[in-house]
């Protein structure tokens, strides 16, 4: 997927004024934020479980090569093929080659953010292969030709009326108003796509090194269909998804659905290990696993390494006051919200996502809800520092900070300057003691007033107290 994170400010401003989007985002908060809280309350303790989950992920990362090699060995022993891809383009090429080798003309996909990263659908279509997204949300987006706006609920930005209109237009069926009817219609339209597909493509929420299994966590059952019916199954996933053992998987599964949608467990958790055996009556004849790097290995040993623990639950974005107001599309790449504001600069280049680490109020909510203890606010702060270190901030900001530093280092000048500024601002505040306009920050003051300082500086007050 093309990265347009550079347009964050412009897009965010648009999204703030989008009434429909604002209503959709409020719904997300009601369902996912409250749902998560209720689901976690059932556990004996979130903290001990989150500590254990973070330890599982850190263990896997600390010996990532070892666990990947063990995964590869076990998967091959069970008849799967394992491919390694350095970039999204490499992954796409591998899928196209597999398709060509097995005469694949149609593919059915379950939701995979890694495939969005690669732009896989486009590459398959270029190769003449018809791809159908089968996750309801992703299917709606494929019809509408839009990217997902949330990693768990990709179509959160659309209302049922918009979806009804879209189905009416694309399926040539009468307009439906009931959500259950819309779901039934999608089921009926998509069933032939499952039954007729030559290739099933899925992501993997986890890879289990112990058994060589790919694990997919789904509710709709489409993940099961695309990994059972087509004769070729391709898993495309990131190298960081490996976990050591089935017990470690159990620990993470206690937190992933609860953190994501407030479910104690998803309807389906499928462990897929190898191709169908001689005596198996169903299942794919071929299983291929593509392990994608695409910038991940560079983060090992780096200060940002902990972002590789991420299990893609989406809790950080659900709780983020910025995401809650601008939605996922404003972020401009596959991963939105706090985790995306770390991943996008990390994978797409710091200079291509300058605003994302700043799209954060440092409220700390993302770090507090993260089930694998990723210190997201720290990582975002570190990215801000890197921008400054590399001279990537705008010249006006750099000049302003340099001026401030120059003044702050001169005690007398600083005292005089602040006193003058406080006096001026107090005058400007007038009777109601509010500043209606701030020079250089018109956007900020367009929707709110700045309380004016009362006219005396901290130093004045400090001196007065000392006298008493």
């Amino acid at each position: 997927m093309e990265c347009s994170a550079g347009e964050f400010k412009h897009r965010a401003a648009q999204k703030l004024g989008d009434v429909k989007l604002q209503a959709a985002l409020r719904r997300l908060q009601d369902k996912f934020v409250d749902g998560r809280a209720a689901a976690l309350a059932e556990l004996d303790g979130f903290d001990s479980l989150a500590d254990a989950a973070a330890a599982v992920r850190e263990r896997a990362l600390a010996d990532l090569d070892g666990y990947l090699l063990r995964f590869e060995r076990e998967a091959i022993a069970r008849g799967a093929h394992v491919h390694w891809a350095e970039t999204g383009a490499d992954a796409n090429r591998i899928v196209v080659e597999i398709a060509a080798a097995h005469g694949v003309r149609t593919a059915a996909k379950s939701k995979s953010m890694v495939s969005e990263e690669c732009g896989l659908n486009h590459a398959l279509e270029q190769a003449g292969i018809r791809v159908t997204e089968t996750d309801l949300g992703e299917y709606i987006l494929q019809l509408a030709q839009e990217p997902p706006s949330h990693i768990v609920a990709p179509v959160v930005h659309k209302s049922k009326e918009e979806i009804s209109e879209l189905f009416h237009e694309k399926h040539h069926t009468p307009r439906k108003t009931d959500i259950a009817e819309l779901c039934r219609e999608a089921r009926e339209v998509l069933r032939p796509a499952f039954l007729g597909a030559d290739m099933g493509i899925s992501g993997a929420n986890f890879l289990v090194a112990e058994t060589g299994s790919a694990v997919i966590v789904t509710n709709e059952g489409n993940g099961r269909l695309v990994t059972t019916l087509p004769r070729v199954h391709v898993v495309i996933t990131g190298i960081e998804k490996v976990v050591p053992t089935l017990e470690d998987l159990a620990t993470l599964l206690r937190l992933l659905p609860r953190s994501a949608t407030g479910q104690a467990i998803t309807n389906y958790v499928s462990l897929l290990t190898g191709a169908k055996g001689e005596r198996d009556p169903d299942g794919p004849e071929q299983m291929h696993v593509i392990l994608l790097d695409n910038g991940r290995s560079r983060l090992l040993g780096d200060e940002l390494q902990s972002i590789l623990r991420c299990i893609r639950c989406g809790a950080c974005m659900n709780h983020c006051p910025v995401y809650q107001n601008v939605g996922g599309h404003a972020y401009g790449w596959v991963y939105p919200g706090p985790m995306g504001s770390v991943l996008t600069p990390a994978y797409q280049g710091l200079e291509n996502a300058l605003d994302l680490p700043h799209a954060c109020t440092m409220c700390g909510a993302c770090g507090a809800v993260c089930p694998v203890r990723i210190p997201l606010p720290d990582l975002l702060r570190r990215l801000r520092e890197r921008q400054t270190e590399r001279g990537l901030r705008p010249w006006r900001e750099r000049l302003a900070l340099r001026l401030w530093a120059w003044t702050a280092k001169r005690a007398t000048l600083y005292a005089v300057g602040t006193r003058a500024a406080a006096w001026l601002l107090a005058r400007a505040g007038g009777k109601d003691r509010l500043l209606h306009r701030l020079p250089g920050a018109a956007g900020w003051s367009a929707g709110r007033d700045m309380p004016a300082p009362p006219g005396r500086t901290f130093r004045d007050l400090y001196r007065e107290r000392g006298r008493r």
């Binding site: 350095e86 509710n219 470690d248 290990t273």
Partner: protein, 219 residues
């Protein structure tokens, strides 16, 4: 150098260990031990806990004393929901007296158009009301997936407290996982449209779980 070698070399360099350190024995040693993480403590009564959780996920749970009465219980459920009498079932379960209860059970993988699928389960997990289904020669994965109604039959004695116990059982009885291990917790659902939960997405719309008091082997 292949992509595989380059990726592994970058990982090793990032982690600050030698290229061959991936095979340092710590990995295999840890997997060999496979220690458990914190497992939530629950009441020891597995059947009530399983039933409570499964019902929360919109499944119907019936208990019968032995495998013999299963077909009659299933027939009553199908009749009550107007689901007909045509079913497809795991070859594993073909031996139950289906015909005597007026249920036609075709022992084969499911196809498009099958309306009711009857399966067993390898075991069940009380913590979350989950069934563990293993794919295999006589246990095709499609039967629990394609039909709109999924009926699962298993001995109540196969309910274990937590997922970790199910993995232990799998290791003890099968060694390695079969092609597909499916943990199934209620009928399929989606909340993609306006975050409103709707049952019956791409899998079954409804689910009946029949727990038998005696093991199948006892019959």
């Amino acid at each position: 150098m292949s992509a595989r070698q380059r990726i592994l070399a970058r990982i090793a360099a990032g982690l600050g260990h030698g290229a061959e350190a991936g095979a340092n024995g710590a990995v295999d040693g840890y997997i060999e031990r496979h220690p458990r993480g914190p497992v939530p403590r629950r009441a020891p009564d597995l059947v009530p806990r399983f039933r409570e959780q499964a019902e929360r996920l919109s499944s119907t749970v019936l208990e019968v004393p032995a495998p013999g009465p299963v077909p009659a219980a299933v027939a009553a459920y199908l009749a009550a929901h107007g689901l007909g009498t045509e079913t497809v079932c795991w070859p594993d379960l073909a031996g139950l007296p289906w015909a005597a209860s007026g249920v036609r059970a075709a022992a084969r993988p499911a196809r498009a158009g099958d309306m009711v699928g009857i399966t067993g389960a390898f075991c069940a997990i009380a913590e979350t009301g989950t069934l563990m289904l293993l794919s295999g020669e006589d246990t095709p994965a499609t039967v629990s997936l394609l039909p709109e109604t999924h009926v699962a039959v298993l001995p109540a004695a196969r309910i274990v407290p937590a997922m970790e116990d199910a993995w232990d059982l799998l290791r003890a009885e099968r060694g390695v996982p079969p092609r597909a291990v499916n943990l199934v917790s209620g009928p399929s659902r989606t909340a993609d449209i306006e975050q409103t939960v709707t049952l019956g997405a791409h899998g079954p719309y409804r689910m009946l779980i029949v727990l038998t008091g005696e093991d199948f082997d006892d019959v």
